[in-house]
Symmetry: C2
Subunit: 255 residues, 2 copies
Protein backbone atom coordinates (compact mmCIF):
# COMPACT_ATOMS: atom_id res chain seq x y z
CA UNK A 1 0.00 0.00 0.00
CA UNK A 2 2.99 2.32 -0.37
CA UNK A 3 3.35 4.85 -3.17
CA UNK A 4 6.86 3.97 -4.27
CA UNK A 5 8.93 4.45 -1.14
CA UNK A 6 6.63 7.05 0.45
CA UNK A 7 4.15 6.39 3.21
CA UNK A 8 0.59 7.73 3.23
CA UNK A 9 -1.11 10.17 5.56
CA UNK A 10 -4.10 8.39 7.10
CA UNK A 11 -6.77 10.56 8.72
CA UNK A 12 -8.06 8.42 11.56
CA UNK A 13 -11.45 9.21 13.15
CA UNK A 14 -11.79 9.25 16.92
CA UNK A 15 -14.88 8.59 19.03
CA UNK A 16 -17.07 11.52 20.19
CA UNK A 17 -16.82 10.78 23.93
CA UNK A 18 -13.86 13.05 24.69
CA UNK A 19 -14.32 14.38 28.23
CA UNK A 20 -17.20 11.97 28.94
CA UNK A 21 -17.62 8.40 30.10
CA UNK A 22 -16.08 6.29 27.28
CA UNK A 23 -18.49 4.44 24.99
CA UNK A 24 -17.44 1.06 23.57
CA UNK A 25 -15.12 1.98 20.71
CA UNK A 26 -16.74 -0.63 18.44
CA UNK A 27 -20.06 1.20 18.87
CA UNK A 28 -18.81 4.06 16.71
CA UNK A 29 -15.72 2.91 14.79
CA UNK A 30 -15.60 0.23 12.14
CA UNK A 31 -13.41 -2.81 12.59
CA UNK A 32 -11.53 -2.01 9.39
CA UNK A 33 -10.69 1.43 10.75
CA UNK A 34 -9.49 0.01 14.07
CA UNK A 35 -7.27 -2.44 12.19
CA UNK A 36 -5.72 0.31 10.08
CA UNK A 37 -5.14 2.43 13.20
CA UNK A 38 -3.53 -0.51 15.01
CA UNK A 39 -1.09 -1.03 12.16
CA UNK A 40 0.41 2.48 12.42
CA UNK A 41 3.73 3.13 14.18
CA UNK A 42 3.84 6.88 13.52
CA UNK A 43 1.27 9.48 14.52
CA UNK A 44 0.68 13.22 14.50
CA UNK A 45 -2.05 14.09 16.98
CA UNK A 46 -3.93 16.95 18.59
CA UNK A 47 -3.01 15.72 22.08
CA UNK A 48 -0.51 12.95 22.88
CA UNK A 49 -2.20 11.87 26.11
CA UNK A 50 -5.61 11.37 24.53
CA UNK A 51 -3.96 9.66 21.54
CA UNK A 52 -2.36 7.10 23.87
CA UNK A 53 -5.74 6.55 25.51
CA UNK A 54 -7.25 6.00 22.04
CA UNK A 55 -4.56 3.46 21.12
CA UNK A 56 -5.14 1.59 24.38
CA UNK A 57 -8.82 1.28 23.49
CA UNK A 58 -7.92 0.09 19.99
CA UNK A 59 -5.47 -2.46 21.40
CA UNK A 60 -8.22 -4.18 23.38
CA UNK A 61 -9.86 -5.17 20.08
CA UNK A 62 -6.92 -5.30 17.68
CA UNK A 63 -3.27 -5.88 18.63
CA UNK A 64 -1.08 -2.86 17.94
CA UNK A 65 1.82 -3.27 15.50
CA UNK A 66 4.27 -2.33 18.27
CA UNK A 67 4.17 -1.81 22.04
CA UNK A 68 2.58 1.56 22.82
CA UNK A 69 5.82 3.05 24.15
CA UNK A 70 7.52 2.29 20.81
CA UNK A 71 4.88 4.09 18.78
CA UNK A 72 6.03 7.57 17.75
CA UNK A 73 3.47 10.22 18.69
CA UNK A 74 4.11 13.86 17.74
CA UNK A 75 1.74 16.70 18.55
CA UNK A 76 0.39 19.27 16.12
CA UNK A 77 1.73 22.75 16.87
CA UNK A 78 -0.74 24.54 19.15
CA UNK A 79 -1.99 27.85 17.79
CA UNK A 80 -0.27 30.64 19.70
CA UNK A 81 -3.06 32.84 20.97
CA UNK A 82 -2.90 36.41 19.80
CA UNK A 83 0.34 35.93 17.90
CA UNK A 84 -1.55 35.56 14.63
CA UNK A 85 1.48 33.72 13.29
CA UNK A 86 1.16 30.43 11.46
CA UNK A 87 3.72 27.74 12.30
CA UNK A 88 6.67 27.81 9.87
CA UNK A 89 6.49 25.49 6.85
CA UNK A 90 9.46 23.58 8.24
CA UNK A 91 7.28 22.45 11.18
CA UNK A 92 4.94 20.59 8.81
CA UNK A 93 7.80 19.02 6.87
CA UNK A 94 9.26 17.72 10.15
CA UNK A 95 5.93 16.20 11.17
CA UNK A 96 5.59 14.51 7.76
CA UNK A 97 9.10 13.05 7.95
CA UNK A 98 7.96 9.48 8.75
CA UNK A 99 5.75 9.42 5.64
CA UNK A 100 8.49 10.96 3.50
CA UNK A 101 10.72 8.18 4.82
CA UNK A 102 8.34 5.41 3.79
CA UNK A 103 6.08 4.88 6.84
CA UNK A 104 2.32 5.32 6.90
CA UNK A 105 1.49 8.19 9.25
CA UNK A 106 -1.75 8.62 11.22
CA UNK A 107 -3.44 11.94 11.99
CA UNK A 108 -5.79 11.90 14.99
CA UNK A 109 -7.76 14.55 16.82
CA UNK A 110 -9.43 14.37 20.21
CA UNK A 111 -12.88 13.69 18.77
CA UNK A 112 -14.37 12.84 15.40
CA UNK A 113 -12.66 13.43 12.07
CA UNK A 114 -9.32 15.24 12.03
CA UNK A 115 -9.21 18.56 10.15
CA UNK A 116 -13.00 19.08 10.27
CA UNK A 117 -13.88 21.68 12.92
CA UNK A 118 -10.56 20.57 14.39
CA UNK A 119 -6.83 21.14 13.85
CA UNK A 120 -4.90 19.23 11.22
CA UNK A 121 -5.89 20.76 7.88
CA UNK A 122 -2.48 22.43 7.48
CA UNK A 123 -0.73 19.09 7.89
CA UNK A 124 -3.01 17.56 5.25
CA UNK A 125 -2.28 20.49 2.92
CA UNK A 126 1.45 20.03 3.49
CA UNK A 127 1.08 16.33 2.69
CA UNK A 128 -0.58 17.18 -0.66
CA UNK A 129 2.15 19.72 -1.37
CA UNK A 130 4.75 17.02 -0.71
CA UNK A 131 2.95 14.67 -3.11
CA UNK A 132 1.98 12.20 -0.39
CA UNK A 133 -1.17 10.10 -0.70
CA UNK A 134 -3.87 11.16 1.75
CA UNK A 135 -6.53 8.69 2.90
CA UNK A 136 -9.44 9.70 5.16
CA UNK A 137 -10.88 6.73 7.07
CA UNK A 138 -14.64 6.75 7.74
CA UNK A 139 -15.93 7.65 11.19
CA UNK A 140 -18.38 9.77 13.11
CA UNK A 141 -18.79 13.47 12.36
CA UNK A 142 -20.75 15.30 15.04
CA UNK A 143 -21.65 18.00 12.53
CA UNK A 144 -23.17 15.56 10.04
CA UNK A 145 -24.94 13.53 12.73
CA UNK A 146 -26.45 16.75 14.07
CA UNK A 147 -27.47 17.85 10.58
CA UNK A 148 -29.03 14.48 9.71
CA UNK A 149 -30.88 14.35 13.03
CA UNK A 150 -32.16 17.91 12.65
CA UNK A 151 -34.44 17.28 9.69
CA UNK A 152 -33.27 20.65 8.33
CA UNK A 153 -32.17 20.93 4.71
CA UNK A 154 -29.16 18.68 4.17
CA UNK A 155 -28.84 19.60 0.48
CA UNK A 156 -27.50 23.07 1.29
CA UNK A 157 -25.73 23.91 4.52
CA UNK A 158 -22.81 25.79 6.01
CA UNK A 159 -20.70 25.27 9.11
CA UNK A 160 -19.60 28.62 10.51
CA UNK A 161 -17.62 27.50 13.56
CA UNK A 162 -17.95 29.49 16.79
CA UNK A 163 -20.04 32.62 17.25
CA UNK A 164 -18.59 35.73 18.93
CA UNK A 165 -18.58 35.65 22.75
CA UNK A 166 -19.49 39.31 23.16
CA UNK A 167 -23.28 39.52 23.50
CA UNK A 168 -23.80 42.40 21.07
CA UNK A 169 -21.49 40.90 18.45
CA UNK A 170 -23.15 37.51 18.88
CA UNK A 171 -26.57 39.05 18.37
CA UNK A 172 -25.41 40.76 15.17
CA UNK A 173 -23.91 37.50 13.92
CA UNK A 174 -27.07 35.55 14.67
CA UNK A 175 -29.22 38.04 12.74
CA UNK A 176 -26.74 37.79 9.88
CA UNK A 177 -26.89 33.97 9.88
CA UNK A 178 -30.67 34.00 10.04
CA UNK A 179 -30.86 36.37 7.05
CA UNK A 180 -28.28 34.30 5.16
CA UNK A 181 -30.20 31.12 5.88
CA UNK A 182 -33.37 32.67 4.50
CA UNK A 183 -31.79 34.31 1.46
CA UNK A 184 -29.60 31.35 0.45
CA UNK A 185 -32.01 28.69 1.71
CA UNK A 186 -29.04 27.29 3.60
CA UNK A 187 -28.96 25.52 6.98
CA UNK A 188 -26.41 27.22 9.27
CA UNK A 189 -24.48 25.04 11.71
CA UNK A 190 -22.32 26.27 14.60
CA UNK A 191 -20.78 25.04 17.83
CA UNK A 192 -19.82 26.37 21.24
CA UNK A 193 -17.46 25.38 24.04
CA UNK A 194 -19.59 23.07 26.25
CA UNK A 195 -19.61 25.28 29.35
CA UNK A 196 -21.06 28.11 27.27
CA UNK A 197 -23.79 25.97 25.62
CA UNK A 198 -26.53 27.13 27.98
CA UNK A 199 -25.64 30.80 27.46
CA UNK A 200 -25.69 30.32 23.70
CA UNK A 201 -29.05 28.55 23.82
CA UNK A 202 -30.50 31.44 25.84
CA UNK A 203 -29.13 33.94 23.31
CA UNK A 204 -30.63 31.93 20.43
CA UNK A 205 -34.09 31.96 22.00
CA UNK A 206 -33.80 35.67 22.74
CA UNK A 207 -32.56 36.78 19.32
CA UNK A 208 -33.98 34.51 16.62
CA UNK A 209 -37.34 34.96 14.89
CA UNK A 210 -40.17 32.83 16.37
CA UNK A 211 -40.66 31.04 13.02
CA UNK A 212 -37.00 30.05 12.60
CA UNK A 213 -36.37 26.35 13.01
CA UNK A 214 -33.63 25.64 15.54
CA UNK A 215 -31.99 22.24 16.04
CA UNK A 216 -29.90 21.35 19.06
CA UNK A 217 -27.93 18.10 19.22
CA UNK A 218 -26.14 17.33 22.44
CA UNK A 219 -23.76 14.49 23.37
CA UNK A 220 -24.12 12.69 20.04
CA UNK A 221 -23.34 8.93 20.15
CA UNK A 222 -23.37 9.11 23.98
CA UNK A 223 -25.98 7.36 26.14
CA UNK A 224 -27.16 10.77 27.40
CA UNK A 225 -27.24 12.23 23.89
CA UNK A 226 -30.31 13.76 22.30
CA UNK A 227 -31.31 15.92 19.39
CA UNK A 228 -34.38 18.01 18.88
CA UNK A 229 -35.59 20.45 16.25
CA UNK A 230 -38.51 22.82 16.43
CA UNK A 231 -39.41 26.44 15.79
CA UNK A 232 -37.99 29.06 18.14
CA UNK A 233 -41.51 29.88 19.36
CA UNK A 234 -41.87 26.25 20.53
CA UNK A 235 -38.44 26.20 22.17
CA UNK A 236 -39.44 29.33 24.10
CA UNK A 237 -42.37 27.52 25.66
CA UNK A 238 -39.99 24.84 27.01
CA UNK A 239 -36.38 26.05 26.92
CA UNK A 240 -33.76 23.29 26.67
CA UNK A 241 -31.48 22.30 29.53
CA UNK A 242 -27.98 21.96 28.15
CA UNK A 243 -25.39 20.14 30.26
CA UNK A 244 -22.17 22.14 30.62
CA UNK A 245 -19.87 19.23 29.86
CA UNK A 246 -21.34 17.67 26.72
CA UNK A 247 -20.47 19.00 23.27
CA UNK A 248 -23.43 20.36 21.34
CA UNK A 249 -24.09 21.31 17.73
CA UNK A 250 -26.61 24.00 16.82
CA UNK A 251 -28.34 24.48 13.48
CA UNK A 252 -30.86 26.98 12.25
CA UNK A 253 -32.95 27.50 9.17
CA UNK A 254 -35.14 30.53 8.62
CA UNK A 255 -38.14 30.25 6.31
Amino acid sequence: MKDGDRGRLLLVPNTLDHGSEPVPIEAVLARGVLEQAAALRHWVVEDARSARAFLKRVAVLTPLAAPLQEIAIAELPRPRKGSGQAPPAAAWAALLQPALGGHDLGLLSEAGLPAVADPGAQLVAAAHDAGLRVLALPGPSALMLALAASGLDGQSFAFVGYLPQDAAARERRLRELEALSQRQRQTQLFIETPYRNAALAAALLAVLQPSTRLAIACGLTLPAGWSRCQRVADWRRAPPTLPDRLPAVFALRAD
Copy 2:
Protein backbone atom coordinates in the same frame (compact mmCIF):
# COMPACT_ATOMS: atom_id res chain seq x y z
CA MET B 1 -35.09 2.32 24.94
CA LYS B 2 -38.66 3.40 24.11
CA ASP B 3 -40.05 6.82 24.91
CA GLY B 4 -43.22 5.75 26.64
CA ASP B 5 -45.06 3.70 24.05
CA ARG B 6 -43.49 5.41 21.01
CA GLY B 7 -40.66 4.04 18.92
CA ARG B 8 -37.67 6.08 17.80
CA LEU B 9 -36.55 7.12 14.32
CA LEU B 10 -33.03 5.76 13.83
CA LEU B 11 -30.97 7.26 10.99
CA VAL B 12 -28.83 4.36 9.82
CA PRO B 13 -25.71 5.05 7.74
CA ASN B 14 -25.03 3.01 4.63
CA THR B 15 -21.68 2.20 3.00
CA LEU B 16 -20.37 4.41 0.17
CA ASP B 17 -20.03 1.62 -2.43
CA HIS B 18 -23.45 2.02 -4.07
CA GLY B 19 -23.03 1.14 -7.76
CA SER B 20 -19.52 -0.24 -7.21
CA GLU B 21 -17.95 -3.51 -6.13
CA PRO B 22 -19.08 -3.96 -2.48
CA VAL B 23 -16.46 -3.34 0.20
CA PRO B 24 -16.58 -5.38 3.42
CA ILE B 25 -19.34 -3.71 5.44
CA GLU B 26 -17.24 -3.92 8.63
CA ALA B 27 -14.60 -1.81 6.91
CA VAL B 28 -16.84 1.26 7.12
CA LEU B 29 -19.62 0.58 9.63
CA ALA B 30 -19.20 0.02 13.36
CA ARG B 31 -20.33 -3.21 14.95
CA GLY B 32 -22.67 -1.31 17.26
CA VAL B 33 -24.36 0.29 14.26
CA LEU B 34 -24.76 -3.06 12.50
CA GLU B 35 -26.33 -4.50 15.65
CA GLN B 36 -28.82 -1.65 15.92
CA ALA B 37 -29.69 -2.00 12.23
CA ALA B 38 -30.18 -5.76 12.60
CA ALA B 39 -32.64 -5.23 15.45
CA LEU B 40 -35.07 -3.14 13.36
CA ARG B 41 -38.24 -4.66 11.87
CA HIS B 42 -39.50 -1.45 10.25
CA TRP B 43 -37.74 0.71 7.69
CA VAL B 44 -38.27 3.73 5.49
CA VAL B 45 -35.69 3.77 2.71
CA GLU B 46 -34.61 5.58 -0.41
CA ASP B 47 -34.78 2.36 -2.45
CA ALA B 48 -36.25 -0.95 -1.25
CA ARG B 49 -34.03 -3.11 -3.42
CA SER B 50 -30.79 -1.59 -2.17
CA ALA B 51 -32.15 -1.66 1.40
CA ARG B 52 -32.68 -5.41 1.16
CA ALA B 53 -29.15 -5.78 -0.20
CA PHE B 54 -27.89 -3.75 2.79
CA LEU B 55 -29.78 -5.95 5.26
CA LYS B 56 -28.37 -9.09 3.64
CA ARG B 57 -24.87 -7.71 4.19
CA VAL B 58 -25.71 -6.86 7.80
CA ALA B 59 -27.14 -10.35 8.36
CA VAL B 60 -23.83 -11.99 7.49
CA LEU B 61 -22.29 -10.38 10.57
CA THR B 62 -25.28 -9.95 12.90
CA PRO B 63 -28.48 -12.02 12.78
CA LEU B 64 -31.53 -9.96 11.82
CA ALA B 65 -34.40 -9.73 14.32
CA ALA B 66 -36.73 -11.34 11.76
CA PRO B 67 -36.43 -13.08 8.39
CA LEU B 68 -35.84 -10.49 5.66
CA GLN B 69 -39.23 -11.08 4.04
CA GLU B 70 -40.96 -10.24 7.33
CA ILE B 71 -39.18 -6.92 7.69
CA ALA B 72 -41.40 -4.02 6.64
CA ILE B 73 -39.65 -1.78 4.11
CA ALA B 74 -41.42 1.36 2.83
CA GLU B 75 -39.92 3.75 0.30
CA LEU B 76 -39.64 7.51 0.67
CA PRO B 77 -41.84 9.34 -1.84
CA ARG B 78 -39.78 10.13 -4.93
CA PRO B 79 -39.66 13.80 -5.85
CA ARG B 80 -41.92 14.36 -8.83
CA LYS B 81 -39.77 16.13 -11.38
CA GLY B 82 -41.10 19.49 -12.47
CA SER B 83 -44.24 19.25 -10.37
CA GLY B 84 -42.66 21.40 -7.67
CA GLN B 85 -45.14 19.86 -5.26
CA ALA B 86 -44.06 18.48 -1.90
CA PRO B 87 -45.64 15.19 -0.81
CA PRO B 88 -48.70 15.77 1.39
CA ALA B 89 -48.15 15.81 5.16
CA ALA B 90 -50.28 12.67 5.43
CA ALA B 91 -47.60 10.77 3.49
CA TRP B 92 -45.05 11.38 6.26
CA ALA B 93 -47.49 10.47 9.00
CA ALA B 94 -48.19 7.17 7.24
CA LEU B 95 -44.48 6.39 6.98
CA LEU B 96 -43.99 7.18 10.68
CA GLN B 97 -46.88 4.93 11.71
CA PRO B 98 -44.67 2.07 13.01
CA ALA B 99 -42.84 4.48 15.37
CA LEU B 100 -46.10 6.08 16.47
CA GLY B 101 -47.27 2.54 17.23
CA GLY B 102 -44.27 1.73 19.41
CA HIS B 103 -41.69 0.22 17.04
CA ASP B 104 -38.25 1.64 16.37
CA LEU B 105 -38.07 2.71 12.73
CA GLY B 106 -34.94 2.86 10.59
CA LEU B 107 -34.23 5.44 7.88
CA LEU B 108 -31.70 4.37 5.24
CA SER B 109 -30.43 5.92 2.04
CA GLU B 110 -28.46 4.32 -0.77
CA ALA B 111 -25.13 5.63 0.46
CA GLY B 112 -23.79 7.38 3.54
CA LEU B 113 -25.90 9.24 6.08
CA PRO B 114 -29.60 9.67 5.38
CA ALA B 115 -30.88 13.25 5.00
CA VAL B 116 -27.42 14.70 4.24
CA ALA B 117 -27.11 15.39 0.50
CA ASP B 118 -29.77 12.72 0.26
CA PRO B 119 -33.54 12.36 0.73
CA GLY B 120 -35.09 11.86 4.15
CA ALA B 121 -34.93 15.25 5.89
CA GLN B 122 -38.67 15.76 5.56
CA LEU B 123 -39.32 12.46 7.33
CA VAL B 124 -36.97 13.49 10.14
CA ALA B 125 -38.75 16.85 10.40
CA ALA B 126 -42.10 15.07 10.56
CA ALA B 127 -40.73 12.82 13.32
CA HIS B 128 -39.73 15.88 15.38
CA ASP B 129 -43.15 17.43 14.74
CA ALA B 130 -44.75 14.23 16.02
CA GLY B 131 -42.58 14.36 19.15
CA LEU B 132 -40.66 11.18 18.28
CA ARG B 133 -37.09 10.68 19.45
CA VAL B 134 -34.59 10.86 16.60
CA LEU B 135 -31.23 9.12 16.82
CA ALA B 136 -28.53 9.43 14.14
CA LEU B 137 -26.11 6.51 14.15
CA PRO B 138 -22.49 7.24 13.24
CA GLY B 139 -21.18 6.32 9.81
CA PRO B 140 -19.28 7.54 6.79
CA SER B 141 -20.07 10.91 5.23
CA ALA B 142 -18.51 11.34 1.81
CA LEU B 143 -18.68 15.12 2.20
CA MET B 144 -16.75 15.13 5.47
CA LEU B 145 -14.21 12.56 4.29
CA ALA B 146 -13.60 14.68 1.20
CA LEU B 147 -13.29 17.83 3.30
CA ALA B 148 -10.88 16.23 5.79
CA ALA B 149 -8.77 14.77 3.00
CA SER B 150 -8.64 18.07 1.13
CA GLY B 151 -6.57 19.97 3.68
CA LEU B 152 -8.81 22.97 2.94
CA ASP B 153 -10.29 24.95 5.83
CA GLY B 154 -12.54 22.66 7.86
CA GLN B 155 -13.47 25.40 10.34
CA SER B 156 -15.69 27.17 7.82
CA PHE B 157 -17.31 25.44 4.89
CA ALA B 158 -20.50 25.16 2.88
CA PHE B 159 -22.05 22.35 0.86
CA VAL B 160 -23.96 23.77 -2.10
CA GLY B 161 -25.21 20.57 -3.74
CA TYR B 162 -25.18 20.33 -7.53
CA LEU B 163 -24.07 23.06 -9.91
CA PRO B 164 -26.21 24.06 -12.92
CA GLN B 165 -25.84 21.79 -15.96
CA ASP B 166 -26.02 24.60 -18.51
CA ALA B 167 -22.43 25.69 -19.28
CA ALA B 168 -23.03 29.44 -19.00
CA ALA B 169 -25.04 29.12 -15.78
CA ARG B 170 -22.42 26.78 -14.35
CA GLU B 171 -19.65 29.27 -15.16
CA ARG B 172 -21.58 32.06 -13.43
CA ARG B 173 -22.18 29.86 -10.40
CA LEU B 174 -18.50 28.87 -10.19
CA ARG B 175 -17.39 32.51 -10.27
CA GLU B 176 -19.94 33.23 -7.56
CA LEU B 177 -18.68 30.37 -5.39
CA GLU B 178 -15.08 31.42 -5.89
CA ALA B 179 -15.88 35.00 -4.85
CA LEU B 180 -17.90 33.76 -1.88
CA SER B 181 -15.06 31.47 -0.80
CA GLN B 182 -12.63 34.38 -0.90
CA ARG B 183 -14.92 36.92 0.79
CA GLN B 184 -16.21 34.60 3.52
CA ARG B 185 -13.02 32.55 3.80
CA GLN B 186 -15.26 29.52 3.37
CA THR B 187 -14.49 26.21 1.66
CA GLN B 188 -17.19 25.44 -0.94
CA LEU B 189 -18.14 21.78 -1.48
CA PHE B 190 -20.28 20.43 -4.32
CA ILE B 191 -21.08 17.17 -6.09
CA GLU B 192 -22.06 15.92 -9.52
CA THR B 193 -23.74 12.87 -11.00
CA PRO B 194 -20.83 10.46 -11.67
CA TYR B 195 -21.16 10.35 -15.46
CA ARG B 196 -20.82 14.15 -15.55
CA ASN B 197 -17.75 14.27 -13.25
CA ALA B 198 -15.26 14.61 -16.11
CA ALA B 199 -17.25 17.45 -17.69
CA LEU B 200 -17.42 19.27 -14.35
CA ALA B 201 -13.68 18.83 -13.78
CA ALA B 202 -12.97 20.29 -17.23
CA ALA B 203 -15.25 23.26 -16.46
CA LEU B 204 -13.50 23.83 -13.12
CA LEU B 205 -10.08 23.95 -14.76
CA ALA B 206 -11.39 26.29 -17.46
CA VAL B 207 -13.21 28.74 -15.21
CA LEU B 208 -11.45 28.97 -11.84
CA GLN B 209 -8.55 31.31 -11.04
CA PRO B 210 -5.09 29.68 -11.29
CA SER B 211 -4.41 30.36 -7.59
CA THR B 212 -7.65 28.79 -6.31
CA ARG B 213 -7.10 25.56 -4.46
CA LEU B 214 -9.26 22.73 -5.83
CA ALA B 215 -9.76 19.37 -4.11
CA ILE B 216 -11.19 16.33 -5.85
CA ALA B 217 -12.09 13.18 -3.92
CA CYS B 218 -13.26 10.21 -5.91
CA GLY B 219 -14.60 6.81 -4.79
CA LEU B 220 -14.03 7.46 -1.09
CA THR B 221 -13.64 4.30 1.06
CA LEU B 222 -13.31 2.23 -2.16
CA PRO B 223 -10.10 0.43 -3.16
CA ALA B 224 -9.87 2.67 -6.25
CA GLY B 225 -10.56 5.81 -4.23
CA TRP B 226 -8.25 8.81 -4.14
CA SER B 227 -8.22 12.42 -3.12
CA ARG B 228 -5.97 15.22 -4.22
CA CYS B 229 -5.80 18.95 -3.59
CA GLN B 230 -3.71 21.52 -5.40
CA ARG B 231 -3.97 24.91 -7.06
CA VAL B 232 -5.88 25.12 -10.34
CA ALA B 233 -2.66 26.08 -12.15
CA ASP B 234 -1.14 22.76 -11.04
CA TRP B 235 -4.24 20.75 -12.01
CA ARG B 236 -4.03 22.34 -15.48
CA ARG B 237 -0.54 20.91 -15.98
CA ALA B 238 -1.87 17.38 -15.30
CA PRO B 239 -5.68 17.29 -15.55
CA PRO B 240 -7.37 14.55 -13.51
CA THR B 241 -8.96 11.49 -15.05
CA LEU B 242 -12.34 10.98 -13.39
CA PRO B 243 -14.05 7.61 -13.81
CA ASP B 244 -17.68 8.00 -14.97
CA ARG B 245 -19.07 5.53 -12.43
CA LEU B 246 -17.51 6.60 -9.12
CA PRO B 247 -19.06 9.34 -6.99
CA ALA B 248 -16.84 12.36 -6.50
CA VAL B 249 -16.84 15.35 -4.18
CA PHE B 250 -15.32 18.68 -5.24
CA ALA B 251 -14.14 21.48 -2.96
CA LEU B 252 -12.61 24.85 -3.67
CA ARG B 253 -11.06 27.63 -1.65
CA ALA B 254 -9.94 30.90 -3.18
CA ASP B 255 -7.20 32.89 -1.43
